[in-house]
């Protein structure tokens, strides 16, 4: 039996394919493996952040700090590697720890003091962004050999196309995300929490631990995305990843996750990111849009996509909940 719950994902994947094919018919050079791979290369960091974000949103929360944490990670990495000469082998794990810690603190505040996640993570967003400027308001370029290598190594695939190391990292994170979500207790507790926090508590689930873990996980993902972003940009800069939180949230929601919590799939998020990427690629292949028409068309494409998604999975929507 074709389960109801997979319908919305199937619709999402289908619409992605439609968009890609439409682009292929319209633009020369669009229909190639490398264009798809570029979606991954250019959105590796977004994929990673979106995995963390999916977990947060599934619990019914939200994390606005992700973009800033990415910027902070690039800034700290650049500063430590470049200006203080620390080895990447120390810096990268350190970043991951700091990111997780950042998330942990936010999670603890959210849970223990019962403050709305939106606000706590908004403060986190201000704080992380602000700390970047405290380190430096200028950009710091990284020319460390390891970072450069990570940035520029191409992994060749048959057919002359290639991907970057960051893509591998992102795919691993996706796979790990799916595993955690569906095959571990933590994952199921996250879904339970999103379904009903009160019930989760009464069912004797470790609500505090789960909630804090989710924000820690998101902090970790942000930091890892920050590391990948550092590879991508080879620089630290306080204005990096501006507004990325909205892209991440949009990807998650486009992928079929409900902001009210309890429902959502990492796999859907994966396609949510790709769909945003395809929209952008279409725009740059179009190449004749003025700045404002660019925005309007992005909005329109997003609207059409969501409209079709709604219409095609309407059967599910009429279900009582």
């Amino acid at each position: 039996m074709f389960k109801q719950k997979y319908l919305s994902i199937a619709v999402t994947v289908f619409l992605f394919a439609v968009m890609f094919l439409a682009g292929s018919f319209r633009y020369t050079g669009f229909f190639s493996l490398q264009v798809i791979l570029n979606l991954l290369i250019d959105n590796a960091f977004l994929l990673i952040v979106a995995v963390g974000m999916t977990f947060v949103i599934v619990t019914g929360g939200i994390d606005l700090s992700v973009g800033s944490v990415i910027a902070l990670t690039t800034m700290m990495s650049a500063s430590l590697v470049q200006e203080h000469g620390w080895p990447p082998a120390v810096v990268i794990p350190l970043m991951l720890v700091i990111g997780s810690l950042f998330g942990w603190v936010m999670g603890a505040i959210i849970h223990y003091f019962k403050i709305q996640p939106f606000i706590v993570t908004l403060a986190g967003m201000f704080l992380a962004r602000g700390l970047c400027y405290v380190i430096s308001i200028n950009t710091i370029t990284i020319d460390d050999a390891f970072y450069t290598k990570m940035a520029q190594t191409k992994i060749h695939l048959p057919g002359g196309s290639f991907i970057s190391i960051s893509v591998i990292i992102a795919l691993v994170v996706i796979a790990a995300g799916i595993y955690i979500a569906h095959y571990t207790r933590l994952g199921r507790n996250i879904y339970a929490l999103g379904g009903s926090e009160q019930s989760a508590l009464l069912m004797g689930l470790p609500v505090a631990r789960t909630k804090i873990a989710v924000y820690t996980l998101s902090g970790f993902c942000s930091a890892l995305a920050g590391v990948v972003f550092t590879f991508y940009m080879l620089s630290g800069y306080g204005l990096h990843a501006m507004g990325l939180e909205l892209d991440a949230i949009a990807s998650v929601v486009i992928g079929g996750t409900l902001l009210t919590g309890g429902v959502g799939y990492i796999f859907g998020t994966f396609f949510g990111v790709l769909i945003q990427g395809v929209i952008q690629t279409i725009i740059s292949f179009e190449g004749t849009l003025s700045s404002w028409w660019t925005k309007i068309v992005i909005g329109l494409l997003l609207f059409l996509f969501i409209l079709f998604q709604r219409v095609l999975s309407a059967r599910q929507a009429t279900q009582k909940l």
């Binding site: 950009t139 370029t141 700045s291 660019t294």
Partner: protein, 324 residues
């Protein structure tokens, strides 16, 4: 330095690109096959930027260049993505105004591997490997700051009392803000009487410029000079100064950067004392350079578009034929 107040666009172009004797005949060579140029613009964050975009788009049309334009909405990631897609589309030349200087090596290397030459406009990149791009044309933000500072230092070189300066910075961390601040500070450092007593970001906008200036006026009794990183903030600040019952340009001297039309008008009215121009009309020069380059000509690594400066008088003269 600050006296070449009347740079004609054409003059700048021909003097900067040394090998453009007769553009019409040169254009013949690549005209057989149309040039496709991918241009990755920063965004449309200001009137200045829009003028820049307009100039490039209309110049491309005139020069018969097939322009692929994309708007990165102030995000470096988006610019990188756009450049990747240009590589994918196998354009003949890629041009872009980097959002920031750093972080371009990877994608530029991909362009180089694909054999596509790259032209930077408006802002440089800080790659060690200068073979990654063919040329960089555009203004120099630090230099703009220096010009502003130099004028001020000159005005107050005989000052015996402290001169209180307030500064309206651009968006925190953005390259023009950082550089215009640095250049300015460099030039006024020599005079101990020139003191920046307050400095705050006005996000390059009129509304913020006005709001911050209002606060400055309340918090500081005696402001002599305002240095704004762009005209828009200066224009907002002028309204705040007028609301406080002071005369902009007289009670408080105002220096700003950009030279957009509204700014020039204010300067002509004597409300802005000194404007450092930052010229957005790079289009014709860019197209010319691209054609030259593809025709196999030698192109200099750095093409400077000289920035003009305007005092009130000069602004009055220049105003009638300002286009943007």
């Amino acid at each position: 330095n600050n006296n070449n107040a009347e740079p004609s666009k054409q003059a700048a172009a021909s003097s900067a690109a040394p090998s453009s004797e007769a553009p019409a005949s040169e254009a013949a060579a690549p005209a057989d096959q149309q040039i496709t140029m991918g241009f990755a613009q920063v965004g449309a964050e200001s009137g200045w930027r829009t003028a820049n975009t307009d100039s490039i788009q209309s110049a491309a049309k005139e020069a018969g260049v097939d322009l692929k334009f994309s708007d990165a909405q102030q995000k470096q990631e988006n610019q990188i993505k756009a450049i990747r897609s240009y590589i994918q589309q196998k354009v003949d030349v890629i041009a872009f105004s980097p959002v920031v200087e750093s972080g371009w090596d990877t994608v530029l290397k991909e362009a180089k591997d694909a054999g596509i030459p790259v032209i930077l406009t408006d802002r440089a990149v800080d790659s060690k490997d200068t073979s990654l791009y063919v040329t960089f044309m555009g203004s120099d933000f630090v230099e703009e700051g220096r010009m502003a500072g130099a004028w001020l230092a000159e005005q107050y070189k005989d000052a015996t009392e402290d001169v209180n300066i307030v500064e309206l910075q651009g968006t925190t961390g953005s390259a023009p803000a950082n550089d215009r601040k640095a250049g300015f500070e460099e030039k006024i450092a020599g005079n101990a009487h020139l003191k920046v007593i307050a400095s705050q970001t006005g996000d390059f906008t009129r509304a913020k410029g006005k709001e911050v200036m209002q606060a400055f006026l309340k918090a500081n009794k005696d402001i002599d000079v305002l240095y704004a990183h762009n005209d828009d903030m200066a224009l907002g600040a002028i309204q705040a100064i007028e609301a406080a019952g002071l005369k902009p340009g007289v009670d408080i001297k105002i220096i700003s950067v950009d030279g957009v039309k509204d700014g020039m008008t204010a300067a002509a009215e004597g409300k802005i004392n000194y404007i450092v121009e930052c010229n957005p009309l790079l289009g014709p020069l860019l197209m010319q350079t691209a054609k030259d380059m593809l025709a196999g000509k030698e192109v200099p690594k750095r093409i400077v578009t000289p920035d003009g400066t305007f005092t009130s008088e000069q602004a009055k003269e220049a105003l009638p034929n300002r286009k943007y």
